[in-house]
């Protein structure tokens, strides 16, 4: 569905993208991770046809982004709502701009209102909504025309639990229907819940891509043993279970607690995005 190869983008002295390569298949959710400035938003803006790349190619279903304008659902990182327009008016505007009319528009709006828990807020102006409600409204404008490619740039930034759960539910549902989803976030547990393929961006390129299991395979876990005299033993190991058994055999001092931890998504993110060179 989405294929980006070797994208390059420079803003003056800043190299925002430097050979950014990423593909997303229909029905796949790709969680795009990376620090601020890693190139995530620039990538989303190029795919949205808001800006042009200096080099490389990007195609959506084999076509350039300019040829599929409006057929991609985009929820930008920053809120982009009209303070004096109601939630319903936002959805009607973006639905109509996507070609939806009358019954189809009304049905799409009603469905989304239920899924994103906006039903009681439909006639409230966006400027009067809470941050989480505004996030859900913005996401709804990206989803109303049921696009085959969804670009969600930190859709849950600063959002409450209700918003986060509603957003994850609807993203899973759309991916289940066959939509390709690019989901950038700093909340790593969301990617576990979405069962997303993980892509880690750093310095304007994707340095790792795969499932959590694939990427975490060689990462060390940790065995932590606390003795009764409150001394703590911590061992970083690629096989926490075997290490624990070995440790229990070798120690003859009384033990008060044992904690075995496999590599987490946080460990994975830190190891790829922060420490290792690409």
């Amino acid at each position: 569905m989405l294929v980006a190869t070797g994208l390059v983008k420079r803003y003056g002295e800043i190299q925002a993208l430097d050979g950014f390569t990423l593909s997303v298949a229909a029905g796949e959710i790709v969680g795009l991770l990376g620090h601020n400035g890693a190139g995530k938003t620039t990538f989303v803006e190029i795919v949205s046809h808001l800006i042009r790349q200096d080099g490389g190619t990007v195609t959506i279903d084999g076509k350039p982004p300019s040829a599929v304008r409006g057929q991609v659902g985009v929820a930008p990182q920053h809120l982009a709502l009209y303070p004096s327009a109601t939630v319903r008016e936002h959805l009607e505007l973006y639905g109509r701009l996507s070609g939806l009319r009358r019954a189809a528009l009304s049905s799409a709006i009603d469905d989304l209102a239920v899924m994103l828990r906006l039903t009681d807020l439909m006639d409230r102006r966006a400027g009067k909504l809470s941050g989480g409600q505004q996030r859900r409204t913005q996401a709804a404008t990206a989803l109303v025309h049921r696009p085959a490619l969804l670009l969600l740039d930190e859709p849950t930034a600063g959002a409450d639990l209700e918003t986060r759960q509603a957003m994850l539910d609807v993203v899973k549902q759309r991916a289940g229907e066959g939509a390709a989803v690019v989901y950038t976030t700093h909340y790593l547990p969301e990617l576990t819940e979405l069962q997303a393929t993980i892509a880690v961006a750093r310095d304007g390129r994707v340095i790792a891509r795969g499932t959590y299991e694939e990427l975490a395979r060689d990462l060390p876990g940790e065995v932590r043993v606390t003795l009764e005299d409150e001394e703590e033993i911590r061992i970083s190991t690629s096989d926490p279970a075997a290490t624990l058994i070995d440790l229990l055999h070798r120690t003859d001092r009384p033990i008060s607690s044992v904690d075995v931890r496999n590599a987490s998504l946080d460990d994975l993110y830190r190891s790829l995005a922060v420490h290792d060179a690409p």
Binding site: L50, G70, Q71, P76, Y94
Partner: protein, 265 residues
């Protein structure tokens, strides 16, 4: 069912209908927003009405055709003030970040611009028409013998103001900056153009400088149109139209690039 990105585009008629549908949606949305914030619009209609009434005796005693001068002069001056309506409406799209959000939709930049400015155009035409009708009813402005000529002049002037306002909105960095430029600019351009004092009473240098003011050409166009002078209307109308087209092309090019990191900033 998901939207199919690989489906072929609509035919020529379908494309035109789609375009009209999108412009209609944008225009309706923008008219709703405008009507929810009517203060500026109302003040630009009510204030010149009051000023016309207050200044009418002075103008009528001091000038031949004083009623025409006070009615058309204040109409032109306050229509120039309305540039800030257009400027604010477009600049708000930047501060709300909604313009770039709209650029991601199926509507191309030209449709976005038409859908955004159509309601403003209607408001500006209505403002000028109301002030002229008021001028005829309450101030003693002669009833135009060729109303369609006056209407054409109003359309051209509204278009030019809208384009200048849109161009201004793409150049300024804040609402405060826009407010200063549009207010000072409106007063300077319209008074230099003869909206307050007839050109014949102004110093020679000012009479020369007036030709650089769109307000001058607008006033000549309006007064000629009210007098039913077709030839006298068309020349200034051409100048006003040219100013509008130049500003419009400039604004459209800037707005098509958006305000994102790859755009105007």
């Amino acid at each position: 069912m998901l939207l199919d990105v690989s489906r072929p585009g609509p035919g020529r008629l379908g494309s035109l209908l789609g375009s009209a549908h999108r412009i209609g949606a944008l225009a309706r949305h923008n008219m709703t927003l405008r009507l929810r914030d009517p203060g500026q619009m109302i003040s630009y209609v009510a204030m010149p009405m009051v000023l016309m009434l207050v200044l009418k005796p002075l103008y009528v005693r001091a000038l031949d055709g004083g009623a025409t001068q006070v009615a058309t002069g204040l109409m032109v001056m306050f229509s120039v003030f309305a540039i800030s309506l257009a400027g604010n409406a477009i600049l708000s799209e930047r501060t709300w970040r909604t313009w770039d959000r709209l650029r991601v939709t199926r509507a191309p930049a030209a449709e976005l611009l038409v859908g955004k400015t159509l309601p403003l155009f209607v408001v500006m035409v209505a403002q000028q028409a109301i002030l002229l009708v008021y001028g005829c009813l309450a101030i003693g402005l002669p009833v135009p013998s060729m109303p369609h000529l006056v209407f054409l002049a109003i359309l051209i002037w509204a278009f030019a103001l809208l384009a200048i306002g849109a161009a201004l909105a793409t150049l300024v960095r804040s609402h405060g900056e826009l407010s200063v430029i549009s207010d000072v600019g409106a007063l300077t351009l319209s008074s230099l153009g003869g909206a307050l004092v007839p050109l014949s009473l102004m110093p020679e240098w000012a009479q020369l400088a007036a030709h650089a003011s769109p307000g001058y050409w607008a006033l000549v166009m309006m007064q000629s149109a009210v007098a039913g002078d077709v030839a006298g209307t068309l020349r200034p109308a051409g100048v006003v139209l040219a100013i509008g087209l130049l500003s419009g092309v400039f604004a459209a090019r800037r707005l098509a690039r958006g305000w994102g990191r790859g755009g105007l900033l």
